[in-house]
């Protein structure tokens, strides 16, 4: 019964999302493109945080490198869009493997600080390696060529790009969802609750953490690959640790215990940002206050709080 209602809601949301370009202005097409990409970014982060219990403050490294990979491939190799996206995922997965190798061995405090420091290392490289990354200005001026698969799509058209993003994010989310519900995903949840018990069941907890970290990195890279053509630039800000903070905020906002939590969080985040920045510049202040309140009083996030409330009402 509950599953059916949820499925129905999901179907309605999906139909609504598909219809956006026909019912909303360009402005909202941009807003929803951003929500989808950041939602995927936040969902990939939540595999590490909500499922495996590792609080990473460097997730933007994978998002950023995905966007840089996209820009570099488009500028120098002019590969089709879909192939470029795979390059984004691959670059991010490789980076996650290297950073994760150092980080997953350590407990949560060290993990948080280390991911932050490594994230900033990647930022420093992008900032200082001017010959490749164009320094603080970032890489711009790349143009989208073909889509791939022989499909003739005008990716430069925001409405078309929105539908492409929607399709890719939907597929990626489905894959992530299956991973979360798989035996592997169950082990990850077990690791979050009690890593010692898992190792006494015969599993190398570090290996599982590392695999989760790499998968999350790859999907963050995919999101990064989608954001570069949307912003038309790959800049160091995408790698900065304030960018790492966004998926954390979105996941907490929506609810870390639910697969769709980060997506809901991303939607609220972007819409709130749009609304609040329309009358004050102090968006970060509002965000800080919201985060503090969520952490102290609504640790289950919006989705969790609503679901709890719904269960209460049903009783």
């Amino acid at each position: 019964m509950k599953t059916k209602i949820l499925l129905a809601i999901l179907a309605v949301v999906m139909v609504g999302l598909i219809a956006v370009p026909w019912i909303a202005s360009y402005f909202y097409i941009f807003i929803f493109t951003e929500i989808l990409i950041l939602g995927l970014f936040a969902a990939s982060f939540n595999l590490v945080f909500g499922y495996t219990g590792m609080l990473s403050f460097g997730h933007a490294a994978f998002f950023g490198i995905g966007s840089y990979a996209m820009a570099l491939v488009l500028i120098h190799l002019e590969w089709p869009f879909l192939v470029s996206l795979l390059a984004s995922m691959g670059a991010a997965a490789l980076l996650a493997l290297v950073i994760g190798f150092f980080c997953v061995r350590l407990n949560e405090v060290y993990f948080a600080m280390l991911t932050l420091a490594f994230g900033m290392m990647v930022f420093a490289i992008a900032y200082q390696w001017r010959s490749v990354t164009n320094g603080s200005d970032g890489l711009a001026g790349f143009s989208l060529g073909s889509f791939g698969f022989g499909l003739d799509l005008t990716l430069g058209n925001p409405a078309v790009y929105y539908h492409v993003v929607l399709t890719i994010v939907a597929i990626a989310s489905a894959v992530l969802y299956v991973i979360c519900r798989s035996s592997f995903g169950m082990i990850l949840r077990a690791i979050r609750q009690n890593p010692e018990r898992v190792s006494f069941a015969g599993l190398n907890v570090r290996t599982y953490r590392l695999v989760a970290f790499v998968i999350a990195g790859a999907f963050a890279g995919l999101a990064g690959g989608l954001i570069a053509p949307f912003l038309r630039v790959a800049s160091p800000e995408l790698l900065h640790w304030s960018m790492s903070a966004e998926p954390i905020l979105m996941a907490i906002l929506g609810g870390t215990g639910y697969f769709l939590g980060p997506f809901a969080g991303a939607a609220v985040f972007v819409l709130l940002e749009t609304w609040i920045t329309s009358f004050t510049e102090s968006w970060m202040l509002v965000l800080g206050i919201i985060l503090a309140l969520m952490v102290i009083f609504f640790r289950k996030g919006l989705l969790g709080t609503i679901l709890d409330w719904w269960m209460e009402v049903k009783k």
């Binding site: 082990i187 009690n194 069941a201």
Partner: protein
């Protein structure tokens, strides 16, 4: 001649200047149940921690079934067939009782590497989990969240998880600690039936002497990290030094050993 399944020689653990376990030798034969007794601080948990890989021994060797496992990490020792429970409940609190067992079963069967199956449709694992829960008599609780079941049931759940890896050697650390007399009786009966089934080899630490004498084939008495005596329950009951050192006097509740 039966080969021992576990051979421990000269096992020693020092923390700074203190010796928690000193020169313990022990052979465990297949399918027997050995109880390790001794007052708090005797070194029982430290001994377990070394056998299960949670701590590195300072000296000595641990050989399981002909293979040296000294100082291996816990997951490798578990893979080789040693499974343990803990003095404090060590479960996955936010999962259901059945899922708790399924996690261990998935780990044991190598399903943890499956990224694209749906865990909740894995009927083989589910059936196996239910069989185990039945064996422990807690299958009626299978869909409850593990954190809400009673303390005694949590301890039984942990035993189910310990058995799920089909271990060659089972280490139970005070399985009845904190249980009500009723739960203690139920658990003793249960462990006894598991031991008598001939499927398992048990090492058990326990404070409750009725439980110990009811279960053990042999008893190792530890005192201040050293082996005081080892023998059958009868021999232990009649050993004067053991009576004086342990059975005669009540526990003088020194600092709990778990902090070590």
């Amino acid at each position: 001649m039966i080969h021992p399944i576990l051979t421990i020689s000269n096992l020693t653990k020092r923390f700074g200047g203190n010796t928690a376990v000193s020169g313990i030798n022990l052979d465990v034969l297949p399918k027997e149940t050995i109880a390790i007794i001794g007052p708090n601080g005797a070194g029982k948990t430290t001994f377990y921690n070394m056998v299960s890989g949670r701590m590195q021994p300072s000296e000595g060797n641990i050989v399981l079934d002909g293979k040296d496992i000294t100082g291996l990490p816990p997951h490798k020792i578990s893979r080789l067939g040693v499974s343990r429970s803990f003095q404090i409940n060590n479960i996955f609190p936010e999962m259901t009782v059945q899922e708790n067992v399924e996690v261990v079963l998935s780990a044991f069967h190598g399903h943890g590497r499956k990224l694209f199956n749906i865990a909740s449709r894995n009927t083989g694992i589910q059936q196996e989990a239910v069989v185990l829960l039945k064996r422990l008599g807690i299958d009626s609780l299978k869909s409850q969240r593990a954190e809400v079941i009673s303390y005694g049931d949590k301890r039984l759940l942990e035993i189910a998880m310990v058995l799920a890896t089909q271990p060659k050697l089972v280490l139970l650390d005070e399985p009845t600690a904190g249980m009500t007399p009723d739960e203690t009786r139920r658990t003793t009966r249960l462990v006894k039936s598991l031991a008598e089934s001939g499927d398992y080899t048990f090492l058990i630490t326990e404070h409750d002497m009725d439980v110990v004498f009811g279960l053990a084939d042999r008893i190792l008495v530890m005192h201040r990290g050293e082996k005081l005596f080892a023998g059958t329950p009868e021999e232990v009951k009649n050993h004067p030094e053991v009576r004086r050192a342990y059975l005669g006097e009540e526990d003088d509740d020194v600092i709990e050993e778990t902090s070590a």
